[in-house]
Symmetry: C2
Subunit: 425 residues, 2 copies
């Protein structure tokens, strides 16, 4: 029964029952965490062969000794692997250190002087980025770091609201970029449609100079179902439109091998790559080529990556299934929450009724279940409707996940029923 | 016999003989390189046990799984190792990725907003750094990248000319830092004296606000002799003077384990470390903790590091000896060059007569021997006296090194004799 259909008596009875459950959880002294999209230990175990895989062989085909200094673009073998991973040409790829976030940060840093030329001398206007929401908090942190103003655009099922994106770009040439997680999006799990990708490839023609699409393809091989969602190739599409200089594609093996010790990839046009390499040369002698070679030996090619990702899926699919099961069992048909059913990626995105997310998270925290802070999926940490909650089911063991979700659904119902009762007062 | 004592006839005869030797080298189609301070392959072999050393154990004493995300300051075990390495407290240390250069770059980047507050609005003055010369080109590149003006101060046998350093700082509060390689300096091999270190510890009292000493202790354990040069501990000394916030000490295992895949260290006051960690959090989720743990297991402690460095010394000492032998044999007593005899580090620094370095390097390159470009050891690539040449003997095999040096001394003599002959014209 929908909460909105209940009378005061029914709501009060439900409230009492939920309070009882809440109190019993409190007695249990829980300490559970649904916050970060981290792989579980069993997932990390899948890649333990990385350490020791080189067996004393450190020379590349071209004679390079990976143990020594040098080479900013990465070893050719790793660039080839990254090219297969990101579906681009090896000449378009830089293979970096253990973090694509650092590459994004560096790339924006390297564009700033170019972008700033469009600011009027002594003016107060700021550079701006479009942020499809909900999105990834660390993208937004980079913009905040550089003083780049962020403009929210809703993320729909098939990608950002492109009418809004285009209208904003037409109106303001100081919008210099857009953040995207185009496949199995963080946090909603949505994949951009072909039509949306086609429109992305044309954005540079509408936008001000040096518009940059940060296409963070973090979950490109992270499927949860037999049927994989397909993301149209932005680089190929952009090349047809001669807008390839606006495209920067990112990825990493963070959720393929070791989350803290993988390798990161950045792909862009060879023109951009050249200036970016020059920029990096002041701060980088070369990335860890030994670890790049380990990854080449371990992941080999697209086929081996796919087989490896099936092993990940076997570990995390039951957690996503359990999440759907508990959310459905306790929340479906009550008109109090909607949530996504991702076919890949690392998250489930849930929306409470407007205004309730903060209180749900607070109540859960009070009895030992940590959730991502309300607003974290929005620029400046502000969710205008205070309703979005990101659930990260991969890290906890199944038992802990179940317990944490059971607490969560009680908190959500309790806060909602309290809300209805106070409304009727 | 000194060239300056020779008459025209003697010089011409010498010139003819040197030209013959030069021509015979030309026939040999050499391809030799004395440019970069890279470890030789046999040195890298000393650390091959790193790959595979973890044997499947990835958990730290505090329960951290090094394969997963998180932790900017580095794993406690690595901070402890770095503390022993840099002779500071573990609470003062950050353990980073594979490059101390990147940490230096990041540290300066993080200080810039603070330093810039001292610039007058709309003025044309720039932030400045003092650069003891000759020095390390990549330090200077970082200053160029950020538009920081560089002021040369001569590096004497016991450290920079401190009278000049102090006079500059008294005169100009916009001097915000100084670059140092205080032990077995790049390129001269000199170690700063205790008296110089004492004066460094007091610089913050003379300088403008937020003055920063970048103390790049890259060669702290890189001895070539039984008797090790001792560098007085700057952090301890500065703490006594309450100037510890001006101290940033850097180091890495680049020339201890793998040059491209080691771990880097930065030590500064806990106050500074806190703001630096916050700055990094926008671009860094965490450095490669797996590689940090590998290094902890492999290097263990100061004693093991010292034993490991003896193995390095056994490989490179003969190369330094050969260098001294050839330089002495062909150049001593001729009044045409001076050079250093380092007791540690990676370089020999040679000075030609003023104005001749570029031509010596050009002549050597023309017959296949690559030397570090003239001026590289000076800010902006400009050696005012055009005389300094950095020789890096570690990377080539002994035979190649001998050949390259034999070519070098012929080129140096030929250019010098040409110079004397044209002077007498």
């Amino acid at each position: 029964m929908e909460f909105s259909q209940m009378n005061r008596e029914q709501l009060s009875a439900l409230q009492a029952s939920l309070r009882d459950q809440y109190e019993s959880f409190k007695q249990a002294n829980l300490n559970l965490d649904l916050t970060r999209g981290k792989p579980a230990a069993e997932q990390l175990d899948l890649s333990n062969a990385l350490d020791g895989i080189l067996e004393g062989f450190y020379l590349l085909q071209d004679g390079t000794d990976v143990r020594n200094y040098g080479g900013i673009l990465g070893i050719p073998e790793a660039r080839q692997l990254a090219a297969a991973f990101l579906e681009v040409d090896a000449s378009e790829v830089l293979v970096g250190g253990n973090s694509s976030l650092t590459l994004m940060f560096n790339y924006i840093d390297h564009m700033l002087p170019t972008w700033r030329k469009d600011l009027s001398e002594g003016g107060t206007e700021r550079l701006k980025f479009i942020c499809p929401v909900p999105g990834y908090d660390r993208h937004f942190t980079i913009c905040e770091h550089f003083g780049i103003e962020m403009l929210n655009v809703p993320l729909l099922d098939g990608g950002p609201d492109m009418d809004q994106v285009e209208a904003l770009l037409r109106a303001d040439p100081l919008i210099k970029g857009i953040w995207c997680v185009p496949k199995y999006s963080n946090p909603t799990g949505h994949t951009y449609s072909d039509a949306v990708v086609d429109r992305f490839a044309k954005l540079a023609d509408i936008a001000g100079a040096h518009f940059t699409i940060l296409w963070d393809n973090a979950y490109t091989v992270h499927h949860l179902e037999d049927t994989h969602e397909q993301l149209k190739n932005l680089m190929t599409t952009a090349r047809q439109q001669h807008t390839q200089d606006s495209v920067v594609i990112l990825g990493s093996t963070s959720k393929v091998t070791f989350a803290g010790a993988g390798v990161a990839f950045l792909a862009t046009s060879p023109t951009n790559l050249k200036t970016f390499e020059k920029f990096l040369s002041a701060s980088v002698i070369g990335y860890d080529k030994v670890n790049q070679l380990r990854h080449v030996r371990f992941l080999q090619d697209s086929q081996h990556i796919a087989a490896h990702m099936v092993k990940h899926r076997n570990i995390i699919k039951p957690k996503f299934d359990l999440t759907q099961q508990i959310l459905t069992q306790h929340l479906a048909g009550k008109g109090i929450a909607t949530w996504t059913q991702p076919r890949g990626g690392y998250f489930v995105s849930l929306d409470t009724l407007p205004g309730l997310a903060t209180e749900v998270i607070r109540q859960a925290a009070a009895i030992g279940v940590k959730l991502t802070p309300a607003g974290a999926t929005f620029p400046y940490g502000v969710d205008p409707s205070n309703s979005n909650i990101r659930i990260a089911p991969t890290f906890p063991a199944l038992g802990s996940l179940q317990r944490a979700l059971e607490v969560f659904v009680v908190c959500l119902q309790l806060v909602t029923v309290n809300h209805f009762l106070s409304d009727q007062r």
